[in-house]
């Protein structure tokens, strides 16, 4: 039995190494399945919770056009949540269980959504920086080893790049606008810059899951590699907008042809991960409340469907 199991593992790894896609009915190591369920459901929860900070500005968007774009964007996020929950379901996870894990605090979601959106410029920063960071994390996932996840991510990434452009455009309009608008943009940028750098996760040396996820090609770049890429991509964009990056240690390093930048406040990072950020409590509470308030609606829909089915039989 043990030899057979080893053979399966080896065959599995060989398929991964050959860049083949693993499909739902294929044999997979239990740890691979668990890692994917954890990662995909965490991603789905992030889409769901991420609707809250942006939804916070739909009713106050400054023009009808901006309102329509923001509403469409938040609607896309709900759609991403749906594809991702479906992808996780192909691994045998149920949506009810995944949501229960979110509500109990057992499952995580992206910590970035535990920061508040305080001005309209925050909606620009969420699109430009947060979605920009998300794209860097997610584009490699379009080639991730698990087929349903990779396919879901192709759709997600297409929409995310549109989101990022609209975020940049909000920032550009503010930066080209009145002094109050420019100040609004800089103030929001100051608050969002460091938290977005945290979105790539802990330093490689402190990232317990990286090595195995790389081996299984669930992940294709390390946290630090992606963080560096993000800084190199964003600094010229901030300069183009006329915004000052809030990092006194930031400078171009000619030798490595990349930016050197300051140290992320890892205490803050771990505090927010542990649930002690400004909005952790409110975000989770809002989700739990929506779920509890919706219980009677879901029950009614089920009860009615059952009555329908019984009628159809009789």
């Amino acid at each position: 039995m043990e030899t057979l199991e080893l053979t399966q593992e080896e065959q599995f790894q060989a398929r991964i190494d050959a860049d083949e896609r693993i499909e739902p009915k294929d044999w997979m190591p239990e740890a691979y399945r668990k890692t994917l369920i954890r990662q995909i459901s965490q991603h789905a929860h992030s889409e769901l919770v991420g609707m809250l900070p942006e939804g916070n500005w739909i009713t106050r968007a400054p023009s009808l056009k901006r309102k329509a774009i923001l509403l469409a964007k938040v609607q896309d996020e709900a759609g991403h949540g749906l594809y991702l929950y479906s992808a996780a379901e192909t691994l045998g996870a149920s949506r009810d269980q995944m949501l229960a894990d979110l509500h109990s605090g057992k499952a995580k979601y992206s910590s970035i959504f535990n920061y508040p959106t305080l001005s309209w410029a925050d909606i620009g920063c969420v699109g430009w920086l947060v979605d920009g960071a998300a794209i860097l994390n997610q584009v490699p996932l379009c080639r991730t080893s698990y087929g349903p996840y990779a396919r879901a991510m192709v759709r997600v990434c297409k929409e995310e790049s549109f989101h990022q452009r609209q975020g940049f455009e909000i920032m550009q309009t503010l930066c080209e606008g009145a002094p109050e608008q420019k100040a609004m943009a800089q103030e929001a940028f100051n608050r969002w810059w460091w938290p977005t750098l945290m979105m790539f996760g802990p330093k490689d040396a402190e990232s317990p899951n990286t090595e195995r996820s790389m081996q299984w090609r669930i992940k294709r770049f390390t946290n630090d590699e992606l963080r560096q890429k993000f800084v190199d991509m964003m600094v010229p964009q901030a300069e183009f907008l006329g915004l000052t990056v809030p990092d006194k240690d930031l400078h171009w390093n000619e030798d490595k042809k990349a930016y050197d930048f300051g140290e992320v406040d890892w205490d803050e990072f771990w505090q927010v991960v542990k649930g002690n950020g400004l909005c952790n409590h409110d975000r989770l509470q809002a989700r739990v409340q929506a779920h509890e308030d919706g219980a009677w609606v879901r029950e009614a829909a089920l009860a009615h469907a059952k009555k329908r089915a019984e009628k159809a039989i009789s």
């Binding site: 009808l64 009145a178 609606v297």
Partner: protein, 267 residues
């Protein structure tokens, strides 16, 4: 995102009183979609299940699209250089012309569904006529929106049925919502002086002609939902003439916050 009215069609010419009444009516329709879309968008991230969160946002977005086309047409017809945003963000509550129904708070999901059903049943049937009426710009907007409104009516009708013929709790909740909201139903089909003027000019159907189809649909849905039709309800009117409930002021305070705080800026 491209609105139906963003074309270079020539503006129609009407006698002054018809022109003024049509303008009032366009603003009334736009205000109605804007205010209801705003209410629906308040659900965003708080819906009972993700699929319904998506449906609510989708309907809000459709209504917002219709709003923009209508304000754009109204602004052109007015010819005073105002924009869709001026009309949405810089008018006080007393100049808003939406019926009372659509400004009512979301309440629970049952209240949102009843409000939506009452509105959709009217909206769909009036758009279906309007798309064949002689004002070409309005007909084009109606022609685009009626397809969306058909889906909205299907969605809200199905939910009335599910909640009415679901569980004991859902039935109690929808009955309560009906007791609360039915009083705002008649305003939709009671023409204002402006509506009467354009009805007489042949630009808007007589609402009495819509009633048989609306009532037949309601009767069908309520029968499926096993719900009795509310009777003896004293009706409330006034929103379409600018006399609103207390709810609208707060809604506009939020809607107009940015434009009021930072006047004259581009976003």
């Amino acid at each position: 995102m491209q609105s139906a009215s963003a074309t270079t069609q020539p503006l129609p010419t009407y006698p002054p009183e018809v022109h003024a009444a049509l303008l009032t009516y366009l603003v009334q329709l736009a205000d109605t979609s804007l205010v209801l879309g705003h209410r629906l968008s308040e659900w965003c991230g708080h819906g009972p299940v993700l699929e319904q969160d998506l449906a609510l946002a989708n309907i809000a977005l459709d209504l917002l699209g219709e709003t923009r086309s209508l304000y754009q047409y109204a602004a052109e017809l007015e010819g005073e250089g105002r924009t869709e945003d001026d009309l949405a963000f810089l008018r006080p509550a007393t100049e808003y012309r939406n019926p009372l129904l659509v400004e009512q708070p979301n309440g629970d999901f049952a209240a949102t569904i009843v409000r939506q059903f009452l509105f959709d049943n009217f909206h769909y049937h009036v758009l279906q006529q309007l798309q064949r009426y002689p004002d070409e710009r309005l007909a084009a907007i109606a022609g685009k929106s009626v397809k969306e409104a058909a889906y909205h009516l299907k969605w809200s009708s199905e939910w009335v049925i599910r909640l009415g013929d679901g569980t004991e709790e859902s039935r109690q909740r929808i009955e309560k919502a009906l007791r609360t909201l039915w009083r705002y139903a008649d305003e939709l089909t009671t023409p204002t002086p402006a509506e009467q003027t354009i009805q007489t000019a042949g630009l808007l159907p007589d609402y009495a002609s819509l009633l048989p189809a609306m009532q037949a649909h309601t009767a069908h849905v309520f029968a499926e939902a096993t719900l009795p039709l509310p009777e003896g309800v004293v009706m409330q009117q006034g929103g379409k003439l600018g006399r609103h409930s207390e709810h609208l002021g707060y809604l506009l305070a939020e809607l107009q916050y940015m434009q009021r705080t930072y006047p004259g800026m581009t976003w």
